[in-house]
C-alpha cells in the first residue's frame, strides 16, 4: 500500500540524552510519527497522548508493582508496548511487552524491532471508532448529568466499568469534557434537549 498507515508513537524516557537518541533514529522511519517525548507518566496528558498506537516506555519509570501488570496500570490503551531498557528486566515483566529495545541496539536493530511490532498490529484495533450499545447508554447518562455512581446503579455495572466506558467514549469521539459530551449527545439525537 502506498498510503500506508502512520503509527503514533509516544516515548516515555527520563533521560533527555537517551530519549533524543532514540527519537533521532525513529524520525528516520517514515511509518512512525512521534507524538511526544515525556520524562514519566506524570507528564501524561490524556487529550494529547491517549491516541498513541505504540508506547515506548523505560521500565525504570514504573514501580515493581506496576510492572507486574503493566497494561492495567498504564493510562492509555496503546495496542503496542515497547520497553526501552537501560538495565535487565525480569522475564515475567518483559513478557508483557511486544518488544524490548536496548541501549546498545544499532539503528538497524531498532528499525527492525519497530517494524516487527507494527506488522502485527490489527488495523481494527486502531481504526474502529464506532460506539458500542453499552457505550451509547453510558454516553446518554453522562449527557443527562448523572454521576458515575448513579450510572453504575442504573446500568447495573461496576463504577470501574463506567469509568472504562467513559474513557473509551472520549477516546473514540475526541471529546473529553462533560459539556462537550452533552453537546455531542444532543446534536446526534442520543438525548433530547428537553431531557436535560
Amino acid at each position: 500500500m502506498s498510503s500506508a498507515k502512520v503509527y503514533q508513537v509516544l516515548l516515555v524516557e527520563p533521560s533527555p540524552l537517551v530519549g533524543a537518541g532514540l527519537l533521532a533514529i525513529l524520525s528516520k522511519l517514515r511509518e512512525m510519527h512521534i507524538i511526544d517525548h515525556i520524562a514519566d507518566l506524570s507528564e501524561f496528558v490524556e487529550r494529547r497522548h491517549a491516541m498513541a498506537d505504540v508506547l515506548i516506555i523505560a521500565p525504570s519509570t514504573l514501580s515493581h508493582a506496576e510492572l507486574r501488570n503493566v497494561r492495567r496500570y498504564l493510562p492509555l490503551q496503546a495496542p503496542k508496548l515497547v520497553a526501552l531498557l537501560s538495565s535487565p528486566m525480569e522475564e515475567a515483566h518483559a513478557a508483557q511487552f511486544d518488544a524490548t529495545i536496548g541501549l546498545y541496539d544499532t539503528h538497524e536493530q531498532v528499525a527492525q524491532k519497530m517494524r516487527f511490532v507494527l506488522k502485527g498490529t490489527p488495523q481494527e484495533a486502531i481504526d474502529s471508532n464506532e460506539l458500542t450499545e453499552r457505550e451509547l447508554a453510558v454516553l446518554a447518562c453522562v449527557a443527562k448529568g448523572l454521576t458515575n455512581k448513579e450510572i453504575s446503579n442504573m446500568l447495573n455495572i461496576s463504577i470501574n466499568t463506567v469509568t472504562t466506558h467513559r474513557k473509551r467514549i472520549s477516546h473514540k469521539l475526541g471529546i473529553y469534557s462533560i459539556s462537550g459530551i452533552t453537546a455531542y449527545a444532543i446534536m446526534n439525537k442520543i438525548v433530547n434537549i428537553t431531557d436535560l
Binding site: A20, I34, D36, A39, G180, T182, Y184, M187, N188
Partner: protein, 234 residues
C-alpha cells in the same frame, strides 16, 4: 509535524530564521512588542535592545518551535521569574483581548447558518466555556501573579500570605480541553448543511489557539511553578 529538539535555538541564532522555521513565533514577538524589520539580528542582540532576558526569550521560542523540547530551569536565574511573569501577562492580554473575542464572534456568526438545535447547544457550550476561561485567567492575574510579585519584592520568607505556588500547581485548570472538544465537534459532528468558509476559518483559529495555549501552560507549569517553588524554599 512535530519538530524534534535535537538542536534548540541559541543566543547566536538569527531571529528571522527562527520565525521562518516556526510562524507561530510571530504572535510571540507581537506580544513582546518586538517590531518586524529586524534584518539579520541575532537573539542576543534583540534581547539587549528590548531589555529581555535571553534565557527566558530563548526558552519561550524553543517551547513554541520544538514539540519535544523540555525546558531546563537550572539554566534560569531567580530574577528571570519577573521576565516570565511579564511575558505571561502580555499573553493573557492577547488571549482575552484578541484571540477569544475573535473566536467568539466568528463562532456566533457561523452558528447563525446552522439548524436551531446545533445553534442552541453550541452557543451554550461556548458561553459556558467563555466564563471558564475568564475565571481561569482572573485567578492567575489576581492571585498567582500578585503573589509572585510580592515574593520577588521581599524574599526570605517575609511574605505574610499563606499562599504557596503548590496550590497553583494543584488547581491549575485545563482550558485547552474544551477547545479540543469544540474542534472535534466542528470538524466531525456538526452537520454538513452547516457549512460556510467561516467553519474552516474558525477551525484553523482553534488549532492555532489550542497549540498556543498548550505551550503557554507548559511555561506556567514546567517553568514558572518550579522556579517559584525553588525561590520559596530559599
Amino acid at each position: 509535524m512535530p519538530r524534534s529538539s535535537i538542536n534548540p535555538h541559541t543566543a547566536n541564532t538569527k531571529l528571522a530564521s527562527m520565525v521562518l522555521g516556526c510562524p507561530a513565533l510571530l504572535s510571540v514577538l507581537n506580544r513582546l512588542n518586538i517590531k518586524l524589520g529586524f534584518g539579520d539580528t541575532t537573539v542576543a542582540d534583540i534581547c539587549q535592545r528590548y531589555g529581555l532576558s535571553p534565557g527566558v526569550f530563548l526558552m519561550i521560542c524553543n517551547i513554541y518551535t520544538f514539540d519535544t523540547y523540555r525546558p531546563n530551569i537550572e539554566h534560569l536565574q531567580p530574577n528571570d521569574i519577573g521576565h516570565i511573569v511579564a511575558y505571561l501577562r502580555t499573553s493573557h492580554r492577547y488571549y482575552t483581548g484578541v484571540s477569544f473575542p475573535r473566536l467568539h464572534a466568528n463562532i456566533h456568526t457561523l452558528l447563525k447558518s446552522c439548524d436551531e438545535v446545533s445553534r442552541q447547544v453550541l452557543d451554550k457550550f461556548y458561553d459556558d466555556y467563555d466564563q471558564e476561561v475568564t475565571k481561569h485567567f482572573d485567578y492567575e492575574e489576581s492571585v498567582v501573579f500578585p503573589y509572585i510579585d510580592q515574593l520577588l519584592a521581599q524574599p526570605q520568607g517575609t511574605t505574610h500570605t499563606s499562599y504557596r505556588i503548590e496550590q497553583f500547581e494543584q488547581n491549575h485548570s485545563n482550558i485547552e480541553e474544551k477547545l479540543n472538544d469544540l474542534k472535534n465537534i466542528l470538524l466531525k459532528y456538526l452537520t454538513e448543511s452547516c457549512s460556510s468558509p467561516l467553519r474552516t476559518e474558525v477551525l484553523m483559529s482553534i488549532f492555532t489557539l489550542e497549540d498556543d495555549l498548550t505551550r503557554h501552560t507548559l511555561i506556567e507549569e514546567r517553568v514558572l511553578a518550579p522556579l517559584v517553588a525553588k525561590l520559596e524554599r530559599q
